[in-house]
Amino acid sequence: MENMTETTAERALPGQLDVVVIDDEETFTEGLRQTLEMGGYRAAVAKNGEQGLNLVRSAHPGVVLVDLKMPGMNGIEVLGHLSSSAPCTVPIMVTGHGTMDSAVESMKVGAFDFLTKPFDPERLLESVRRGMSLNVLRKERVAATEPVPAPPPDKNDLLLRGLEVLGEAYSLGLDNRQLFDDLAYLESEAKYHAQSLGQIKQKERAILDIRDDLRDVDTILEKYDFEKGALIQVLLDAQEKFNWLPRHVLHWISARLNVTVKEIYTIAGFYEAFSLKPRGRHCVQVCTGTACHVRGASEMLSRVSATLGLQPGQTDEDQQFSLSTVHCLGCCALAPVVQVDKQYYHSPSRNKFEKIIKSLDKEVPQNV
């Protein structure tokens, strides 16, 4: 074990560190580093504030664990320097003498978490994991705000220009076989490239869409502080955002919260609120609660279902409408009730329901 940790520490070249520990107590830091390495993080130790800051500047770690009380520069001062020199790095304050005031003070200067010694290894790793997630997010934010370099000249444009030149020569009467062949070749080449470029652009658009989706997911995750326990809340927010739970979103959540994909699918499958299939832009929900049932909900359901041409649980081809049944909408006095998007309707006749549906048809969907 001793050997292994040493080699990993040696291998930890600048620029490849996950965690930097800044603490003067050697007995403590060694154990801390071992815990971190067992948790799969590349960690290094600095004995005082200055050394630590230098290491952070060269190695860009995701998380820094800073002792509050150290000779020389103290933890609060270190955090002050960190926020300007390494804004993406997530600092976590560690102390042997935790008081309410020092915790508040640390949070004020930007500490992500506050741990009191001695602490549970699991608690440490969980805190570091959440810090790492936040670090990735911060880095991505910075990358997104940096100016995009001008795209290299499009190959398609070059080809077109070549075609133009050749065409000019041709029109000038430089009629020869070679020139004609060149022209034909360039033309077919240009067509081929235009086609593949179109395909590439399509793919790029799809990837960009997915990236945007994942950014949205990150915003949601950040709201819940990357807490594992908030999984159902995160899924509910994601469901509201995308109207269903796409696969890439679930995998992203799985990676960010350190929850297995299997567990996420178990939960998404268990609760009624989640849909693993795309749903229509408009949701029609027929209440089948007892009060509605005795007042003719099943008749209303067959009416609604026939009007929409959908069975409960189905979505139409252009993803305009989804029909579903719910156990109780809690509007029992209005029974039987049908909910269209956020509006409740008391037993609409066939004609009235058609009118409701038509008024929705006209609305231009927002996200197209």
Binding site: K228, G229, A230, L231, I232, Q233, L235, L236, T266, I267, F270, Y271, E272, A273, F274, T288, G289, T290, A291, C292, H293, V294, R295, G296, S298, E299, M300, S302, R303, A306, T307, V326, H327, C328, L329, G330, C331, C332, A333, L334, A335, V337, K342, Q343, Y344, Y345, H346, S349, R350, N351
Partner: protein, 644 residues
Amino acid sequence: MSKLKIAADLESLRKNVIAQRETKSKWVTVCTGTGCCAYGAEALADGFEEEIKKLGLSATVGIRRTGCHGFCERGPLVVIESKGHTCYVGAQLKDVPLIVEKTVVGDEAVERLLYLDGETGKRASNVEDIPFYKHQTRILLKNNSLIDASNILDYIAVGGYSALAKALTGMSPVDVLNEVKEANLRGRGGAGFPAGVKWESARKALDSTKYVIVNADEGDPGAYMDRSLLEGNPHSVLEGLILGAYAIGASQGFIYVRQEYPMAHKHAQKAIDQAREYGLLGKHIFGSSFSFDVKIHRGAGAFVSGESTALINAIEGHVGEPRPKYIHTTEKGLWGKPTCLNNVETWANVPFIINRGAEWFRTMGTESSKGTKIFSLVGKVNNTGLVEVPMGMSLRDIIFKIGGGLPEGKKFKAVQTGGPSGGVLPESMLDTPVGFDELTKVGSMMGSGGMIVMDQDTCMVDTARYYINFLAHESCGKCIPCREGLRQMLNILNRITAGEGREGDLDLLEELSEFMEMASLCALGQTASNPVRSTIRYFRDEFEAHIREKRCPAGVCTALIAYEIDPVKCTACGACAKSCAVGAIEKVDSKTYRVDQEKCIKCGSCYSTCPDKWGALVKVPAVPITRPPVGLGALCEVRSQCKN
């Protein structure tokens, strides 16, 4: 706004608020509960605001959008508060100028919009004169119609948080606990476990971290009182929760709201934010050493998540499946810590008990069930809505005195209480007083307070099938007796309603019921057979009509009925053909229409469209479909033939 540092601050704030309100001579309150909103209450409130601004009355007339008043059947409800409380039912946007002119500017009532008592033919102008309200004892629901849920000052004005001030300044946690225990407050969620006893065991548990939870995962179909309380008066629930936390020694609370109730979630969140702002949540409440905070957790739509251990699993971020019950949640609950979980209505009762004392609470109710209970009186009854009555009132009084009997002079058949775990009670049981033990004795249960009235047009076999279908769908599948038992029950009931019932089916159902009750893991499975048992117990003849005569006496089971047009009565107006979504009604000649039985989906659209004065559309027993036996049934048949 500065925080309330000591209890006296609350009292002075209350006086200020009241003094400020007294500058207005009249208040227009519009119910904006979910029911009234579906009838256009929001637009109505906007209309009042505009009209009052237009007439320059803003200085003397106030407008308040309140939570549910309870009388949802006749929404939207508008109450003009001046000397009396004039209540208008079913007011529309176009009536706004008239109401403002007559009642707000003047002091007259608009006769046309007052409640009309069908029996006496008189109109009731005052809220208290309406029979629906007259026979109720509204304690928890009363404030719903007086306050704007999104404004904490409204709650403080009616005496809110005074129980908390009283407890934190003059009572020890044990005093609070004893008061609740003495009041014999029983859990309003369904099982009726004494809240005081639960609190005590959570208090005695040896752990420094404890939790309290509000269960607002109102999953019972047909019940919506928790929604109403949380939407209309979230602070009362919050105050109860803080008191409970103080008694038990918890510092963190959760409100678990089902996601189908977005408004309840919004209002509860706002209430928490405001309470924090005023220092009623957070560190050192009222300068005491007690600190407490609350978080909201949204449910994701699963009936079984309302079960306490399943709910705890859901808060932890897992699948909401129940845990075995031999470890009490009061000892090891949320994250392994002592946890006290109560229903919305239970928590809302606590401030009243602390303020008025256990003695007062015990004056209402029966021997074993004290206080009041909110019921959601729905189904085939004239005045549907939320009613709050003292325990011990008879079912007959609730349905006929408050509910105003059944519509269209139909005959009463049964009342269902207790949601999917409860049972149905026939007319002979109508004099049963409502109470936890009283209802259990006759084969139903209190449940969370759903009360669904059924008339002669409700088929009891279909009702039993409905509940079993619901439960089969909602069973989490963790334990076999519940999962498989329900599936088999559903199969049998589906067969009976499809006209393919067999002799011996009823015995089989009863046997399955007994087995599930003994062997299931949680209350969902243990009580799942109640709807079947009680329907068989009281309505055996209806089951037998389905099985032996292939006939549905109530005309509900679609496989056993057909719609036909009586050629003598039909005037060929064509209304039915227009209403048909599948084009199953065709014109035969200039005088008659005909239903194409092949195309008909039996949605009943034509039946309700045909004008009452013609009454040409009739339900007739369908010709029984004889299907060749398949599967296991076929095997049995062959075997019995071989034996013969």
